[in-house]
């Protein structure tokens, strides 16, 4: 069964550094999402992406965040200058079409020191 894959599984970085989290959505999916989960809190929506542009973003997704689909397979989340409070589990998801089931990756645990 096709899966959403995320790399790395764990990323450790120093405060102020840039990080790029990578995702490979399921191949025939057209809609892509990022969510995050701070330890002990709920899974929160960050951004959705379709047709090479952001279709919706939350208030968490400020100027420090950006997303990109640099080629036909990868979908990346960049945090320009990480803060301690960016430490969280980041989940990528994809869906075949708007309104259909979102399939999640296993997540990247980001630790900002």
């Amino acid at each position: 069964e096709p899966e959403v894959t995320q790399t790395p599984s764990h990323q450790v970085t120093q405060m102020g550094q840039e990080v790029i989290l990578r995702c490979v959505p399921i191949s025939n999916h057209l809609y892509f999402y990022w969510y995050r989960q701070i330890l002990g809190q709920k899974v929160e929506f960050l951004v959705s992406f379709y047709n090479n542009e952001i279709s919706e973003k939350s208030e968490i997704f400020d100027d420090q965040f950006s997303v990109e689909r640099p080629d036909g397979s990868n979908f990346t989340l960049k945090i320009r200058s990480t803060k301690l409070e960016d430490s969280a589990m980041y989940f990528c998801a994809s869906s075949e079409s708007l309104g259909l089931i979102q399939y999640f990756g296993a997540g990247t645990r980001l630790s900002v020191l």
């Binding site: 709920k42 899974v43 939350s58 869906s95 399939y103």
Partner: protein, 111 residues
């Protein structure tokens, strides 16, 4: 704004006992409701969605619009049901298809 509440952080039952994981939501329109499950060290995966009205792994959930609830039930819990369960809501229609999650309930089924 929409909100999903799962009042129980932890739920522990014995094998063979009935289990009910509660989920309440607040939204004035017609949402779509989902249950996602996360087994230990695995990804979030869809368990149920209310529009499918199907039973998966013996679990069922009925949308009660009057009580704004979407509780997950199973008559006889199994040890392999031990996992984190998340209730989620999505607005139907328009272009807003983000999922809004509850905080999750950790279900432990004891032998």
């Amino acid at each position: 704004a929409q909100r999903v509440t799962q009042p129980e952080k932890l739920l522990s039952v014995f094998k063979g006992a009935p289990v009910e994981l509660k989920c309440n939501y607040s939204y004035s329109g017609s949402p779509e409701l989902f249950w996602y499950v996360q087994y230990s060290r695995q990804r979030l995966q869809l368990l149920l969605r209310h529009i499918s009205r199907e039973s998966i792994k013996g679990f069922t959930a009925d949308l009660n619009k009057g009580e704004t609830s979407f509780h997950l039930k199973k008559p006889f819990a199994q040890e392999e049901d031990s996992a984190m369960y998340y209730c989620a809501l999505r607005l139907s229609g328009g272009s807003n298809y983000k999922l809004t999650f509850g905080k999750g309930t950790l279900l432990t089924v004891n032998p």
